[in-house]
Amino acid sequence: MTATERDILQAIRQDANRGFGLLLNTYQEQIYWHIRRITVSHDDAQDALQETFVRVYAAIDRVDLEQSLTAWIYRIASNEALRQRQRNSRATISLDDIPGEAQAAVDQYIDYSDLEAIKLQRAILALPYKQQLTFNLRYYDELDYDTIARITESTPSAAKANYHQAKEKIINYMNSTL
């Protein structure tokens, strides 16, 4: 557990609301983007983000001080994001939706003009879920393999192998669709 994580837990034990505010300020933005990369839709990401922190708030007293607070929060967020994505699988916003052709499905919070960024997200979303998760946690969140292994319920070496496989698949996907 890092010093920041300890400070947050100590603040929560002294004053639950102030401590939880500190936790939100530290994690909400990175957790939102982590969820968003899984759900794609902003509305789904917002719901999953709220549900994640509601669950964190309810269980914060039971968090194991020996475990990583970051890994615990990311794990809850990953589960919520996946649940949200599965729940809305039929109505989900896709990066394949083209503005003007399917207005009902288009998310106004996606920049469809940034083709390179769209293509990279498509490549990531085409990966098996565990590889997708591992790639995002390493590439975007820069988490170490120990923490990633805790989140994805694997081992650090398996997480490392997963990341490199994912990276290779993404490069192949990008080349095949260029």
Partner: protein, 104 residues
């Protein structure tokens, strides 16, 4: 494309958020979390009180059957009646023989 090209794209994403989204979220989350906790506390109390009420009801039903159950016959009343004098017995019979509650 190779790994270097991927690094060039970097962390750029096509996703945006509404204006002021991250400023508004903490208060919304805290409100939802405290509301959920309050609801769960109420639910816990309801479950606890319902369980207590159900237990009391069961005990009452059981006690009613065991403690307040009528005797299998009127032996004790008859024994008491036998110990009365003939006059008293006659008096009681005259008074209560037409009583609707006794003859119910």
């Amino acid at each position: 494309m190779n790994a270097q090209d991927l690094d060039r794209i970097g962390k750029k994403m096509p996703y945006k958020v509404p204006e002021g989204f991250f400023e508004e979220m903490p208060s919304r989350i805290i409100e939802r979390a405290t509301r959920r906790q309050h609801r769960n506390n109420v639910l816990r109390h309801v479950i606890r009180y319902t369980a207590v009420a159900a237990t009391i009801a069961l005990v009452w039903m059981f006690a009613d059957k065991v403690i307040f159950a009528p005797q299998d016959d009127y032996t004790s009343v008859e024994l008491a009646f036998d110990q009365l004098s003939d006059d008293d017995q006659l008096y009681l019979l005259e008074v209560y023989q037409d009583d609707i509650f006794f003859n119910y």
